[in-house]
Point group: C2
Chain length 358, copies 2
């Protein structure tokens, strides 16, 4: 019940332990194709280039920037937490001219301020995090997309924590590059980064003057392994992790998006009500709260690390600490995927009651 | 029985499907520490910075170069196959001045020629592949190390296919950066890249004038997650893959290095004898053959893809094709880790006999 990894479905564990076959085996290629189609459905896109990268969620961030940024390109990051800051760092290392608009951690990006910023400067990429895992804030990505589109910039959205827990609608938002992770609301172990590029993003990639400065994450080559009839070897795909992701996306689609999202909302509401009784306040304003990542104020006098450690040792429940300026101020309670169930909320609330009393 | 992934040990599958716990859970940190110690033993090093990167073998190659190369650095690659060529590409993308010495595919790097090259120019890094997976050649990495050391260059060795199948002695060779993969002779699914840096490599990393231009693979940050008392979060480690690697390295050490290597040699000799009876020649001179990757000439008149496809469909045996200039000329038969057993060699020889007759 921390900020991820979340609890994993039994069928995902079973898939993970299926016999490893070759990364060019015709059966494996069928699995790859099926994963791609399922990811498109979950991400809300018809983008041909939709597949998992062979690394954890952060490798998805790296992939988006390293493929789309050339030296000197102007990038705007709308930042209100750790993962926005990380985007600034990633883009800067690649030689981008990084500009940012900073919002207080725990509050959302304000579209009107972004609009103003976009009027003053032309950017190649505008990037934002949908669900800020560090603060529990949902950013208004649809509204931001409406502002970015007329400027001609590529729109990059981090959906690591949102995908599978709240609606992700890549095409409706006009997003051009989007990535996620497997270990949050998809309830699969960490190790892959689902990713999608629009045709506009692909056009930018194809028009590069320089080679992508990262062989391992170069989509111009990786595409030739994930698409078409020839399936050119690039690197050995993490075969078993892809089995696991396949089982996880099937589970999501079998349960049905609406039901999964409703389950997240219900668990969140149950948690908020229970915490309220314990006198523990939510850190984020109601409208912008994420159901799957609940930032809560640490009660006056409670021992931050001590309570977390006791929860883990005595109740086998993990919750997360605050990061950066929120360290020591908040806890982060995850209700992601398989974890988002009433019995888990009950367990946590009871355990927290005990740990806060003594 | 292709060039990897190899057959996976039952206990590795079981470990893979163990419950996912948090990447900062004290129990997980104990597992990380144990994996590091076991990897040191297998790699033959006392380097403090020895751990698995969160990507497949090629991410290990990328990690070595991206951390050690700064723009304009001179890199020499001793190339005799696909993976040497890949090193040239990786280093070039990072702004290195890449020089190379090319040897015919299927033959080893010749130390005397390397010595001559090293006299003519000063390099920051000299790189070579220990076991060329594309050709089945073992390169004389110890002899090359003896030549590189006096020049002051960092010595980078690819041990993707060698580790676990033939002796790897990082410290004895004087290697400064070394990486491997999990899906070859360690018999673990693909997804991690064991890696080790010497103190000299670390010093070069710490003396960089510019940030590592790859956030995801930046060892200056990743070290702080894998070492010390604080374990600063960088990215969410691929928890279950690390369980699997732990089981695989334990299995290797329990069986004992000498026995595992002898098993590889015996399976190789059995294969060579059987192929000889079928009139199938080995492509590489005996002295430089790899036991775990056998390049064999495709018999006159045999249908390359047809035979491989029939082996897979009718006998559930995978073998690999030739790459680059060796496409259509050789097959690559893997005897890696758990696969290196007499019964597997028998199965392949019988199946091959059938497929070549009709």
């Amino acid at each position: 019940m921390g900020p991820g990894p979340s609890c994993v479905y039994d069928e995902v564990y079973a898939a993970l332990a299926e016999p490893t076959i070759g990364h060019l085996d015709p059966l494996f290629i069928r699995i790859m194709d099926a994963v791609k189609e399922d990811l498109k459905a979950i991400i809300g896109t018809s983008n041909r280039l939709t597949m998992p990268m062979s690394g954890t969620g952060s490798s998805g961030m790296e992939t988006c920037f390293v493929n789309l940024v050339e030296h000197g390109d102007k990038v705007l990051v709308l930042t209100n937490g750790v993962f926005g800051k990380r985007m600034e760092d990633v883009a800067g290392r690649l030689g981008a001219q990084v500009d940012s608009l900073q919002f207080e951690w725990g509050t959302p990006v304000v579209p009107a301020l972004a609009a103003e910023k976009l009027k003053g400067e032309k950017y190649g990429i505008v990037a934002v995090v949908h669900a800020e895992t560090s603060t529990g804030v949902r950013n208004p990505v649809r509204e931001i997309g409406d502002l970015v589109r007329p400027t001609g910039a590529l729109y990059l959205v981090d959906c690591v924590t949102s995908l599978g827990g709240i609606p992700v609608r890549m095409d409706e938002w006009g997003a051009d590059a989007l990535y996620s992770g497997t270990q949050k609301c998809l309830s699969c172990p960490p190790g892959l980064a689902p990713l999608s590029f629009s045709d506009r993003a692909l056009a930018k990639l194809k028009a590069r003057k320089s080679k992508v400065p990262n062989w391992y994450l170069d989509l111009t080559m990786i595409m030739n392994y994930w698409e078409g009839n020839t399936r050119a070897y690039h690197h050995t795909a993490p075969v078993n992790m892809i089995y696991a992701l396949y089982a996880a996306v099937r589970r999501f689609l079998d349960e049905g998006e609406d039901k999964v999202h409703a389950r997240h909302r219900a668990a969140h509401e149950q948690l908020v009500a229970g915490l309220d009784k314990l006198g523990i306040p939510m850190y984020v304003e109601e409208e912008f709260r994420l159901p799957m990542l609940n930032a809560v104020g640490i009660p006056e006098g409670a021992d931050d690390a001590g309570v977390r450690s006791r929860l883990l040792k005595e109740f086998a429940v993990e919750i997360g600490n605050g990061l950066g300026p929120l360290a020591g101020k908040i806890w982060r309670i995850g209700l992601m995927g398989h974890t988002a169930r009433p019995e888990n909320v009950d367990t946590l609330l009871k355990a927290l009651t005990v740990c806060l009393k003594r």
